[in-house]
């Protein structure tokens, strides 16, 4: 399959990329790892006249720890690859949910090129990283012609491949708060290794006094037109002891208010069932992490 014709730019700096984007916005697309976009071009599902390759811009590829007063956080450049996230010893020790999630995306080759920024901006309704980013309460930095702004992960995903980014903006950084008490896990149900998730659940929790759950955040992917935070479920579990009965009683809320997808891979009923089962398994795994 041959992509449609387009003009190609490889800017050497972010301001240069932004200038190109504001000139060509509606007819342009930025290219990161290409692991989704190049397929979309071949299928003619994307037809940009101009392709702006972010690969020549230095300084969009990093994983570092930052301190803001008492608070610590991780900052990652949008062009950081899955393989770099998987292999980062800083993340493995301070935020293991990210390497754990990155390691179940696609295969070795896809992880060597696919980027964190690309996976979030692409907003596949079954993407893995979005679930983790939601559960971690991340913030995303968008830079455009009018300057920069921070978008909360829970406000970022709007629908089927749609995000809060405007066509003039580039996602440049993802910031994740750190917490010493946080336990976490991501588990996905897929038909085969390297397939997209039928359902993927990311859980972050903090234990309080007497084994109760003081904080819990649940990111869900694969279930509907976008990855989302299961807020009504979180409210049902917060402050409780997370035993089997409690989780099972609350579990239907994981898809509350959500239009569950049914397709050839799994009916809406089966997907809802998977979401409840994987919720339980992921909470168990997080508690024991």
């Amino acid at each position: 399959m041959i992509p449609p014709q387009f003009e190609y730019f490889r800017p050497a700096s972010l301001p240069e990329a932004l200038a190109l984007l504001s000139t060509y916005a509606d007819d342009a697309k930025v290219l990161a790892g290409g692991q989704s976009l190049i397929s979309l071009l071949k299928l003619r599902l994307a037809n940009p006249k101009y392709l702006i390759d972010l690969g020549g811009i230095g300084g969009l590829n990093y994983i570092r720890k930052e301190t803001d007063g008492q608070a610590e956080r991780i900052a990652m450049g949008a062009m950081t690859t899955y393989a770099e996230i998987k292999g980062s010893s800083l993340l493995q020790s301070r935020c293991p949910l990210l390497p754990q999630t990155a390691s179940v995306v696609g295969d070795v080759q896809v992880r060597n090129l696919g980027t964190l920024g690309g996976s979030l901006a692409h907003a596949d309704p079954a993407g893995d990283m979005p679930a983790a980013i939601l559960a971690l309460g991340a913030e995303l930095k968008a830079v455009g012609p009018k300057g920069e702004r921070w978008i909360k992960a829970e406000d970022f995903f709007l629908g089927f491949y749609a995000t809060a980014l405007s066509p003039h903006e580039i996602l440049t950084e993802i910031r994740v708060p750190l917490s010493a008490k946080r336990k976490s896990a991501y588990i996905k149900a897929a038909r085969r290794p390297s397939d997209f998730a039928l359902v993927g659940i990311a859980v972050c929790l903090e234990a309080g006094q007497g084994g109760t759950c003081e904080r819990i955040a649940v990111g869900v992917t694969g279930v509907t037109d976008k990855p989302y935070r299961a807020k009504s479920l979180e409210a049902k579990l917060k402050g409780k002891k997370l035993d089997r009965e409690t989780i099972e009683a609350a579990a239907p809320a994981v898809t509350e208010g959500v239009d569950v997808i049914g397709n050839i891979h799994a009916s809406a009923d089966f997907r809802s069932h998977l979401a409840r089962v994987y919720l339980y398994r992921t909470i168990q795994a997080a508690s024991q992490s």
Binding site: R10, L31, I38, K42, D107, V108, Q109, V110
Partner: protein, 160 residues
């Protein structure tokens, strides 16, 4: 058109290309190295796998213009001085039938053995997730990679 310079297996290729040209087509049709195959053309099968600046990637999901100034190794590059030990092991252990997936499988195995010279069977299976084989059922491929690891340990071969 864009003028690009790409080094493949140590040899430099300079060409005018259309931006939409896929890297796999550059390798096969411009550099005339047809060991890299086009299989599914959707990034799933891994027949077009190459090493790009030392990283294992699928060349059907990359544009040739992105490879300007890159160093690429294809299957032909492994056999510069006789067959590579991984190639030998695939022959010895019948790690192929029709051969279509073999170049990708062998490059994947070389990439794995570079960072993990003695992989377990489970690690080999995980590493091969992005390379599909329709003939062998994978067992002989896995046997070949284990055999290559063993032989390379004994002879102290550097992998690439």
């Amino acid at each position: 058109m864009h003028r690009i310079k790409v080094t493949i297996n140590g040899k430099e290729y300079e060409q005018e290309v259309e931006p939409r040209l896929l890297l796999v087509h550059f390798i096969r049709e411009k550099a005339r190295l047809t060991g890299t195959h086009v299989g599914c053309d959707t990034g799933n099968c891994g027949a077009c796998t190459i090493l790009f600046n030392g990283k294992l990637i699928k060349s059907c999901l990359t544009l040739a213009v992105q490879a300007n100034h890159a160093q690429i190794t294809t299957i032909e590059g492994l056999a510069a001085n006789g067959l590579h030990p991984v190639q030998d092991a695939f022959l010895e252990k019948f790690g192929l039938q029709c051969g279509y997936c073999t170049p990708g499988m062998i490059l994947n195995a070389c990439y794995l053995l570079q960072s993990n010279p003695q992989p377990s069977e489970a690690e080999i299976r995980e590493a091969l997730e992005g390379n599909l084989c329709m003939c062998t059922g994978y067992q002989h491929i896995i046997d070949a990679i284990r055999y290559a690891a063993e032989r390379m340990k004994q002879s102290g071969t550097v992998q690439l």
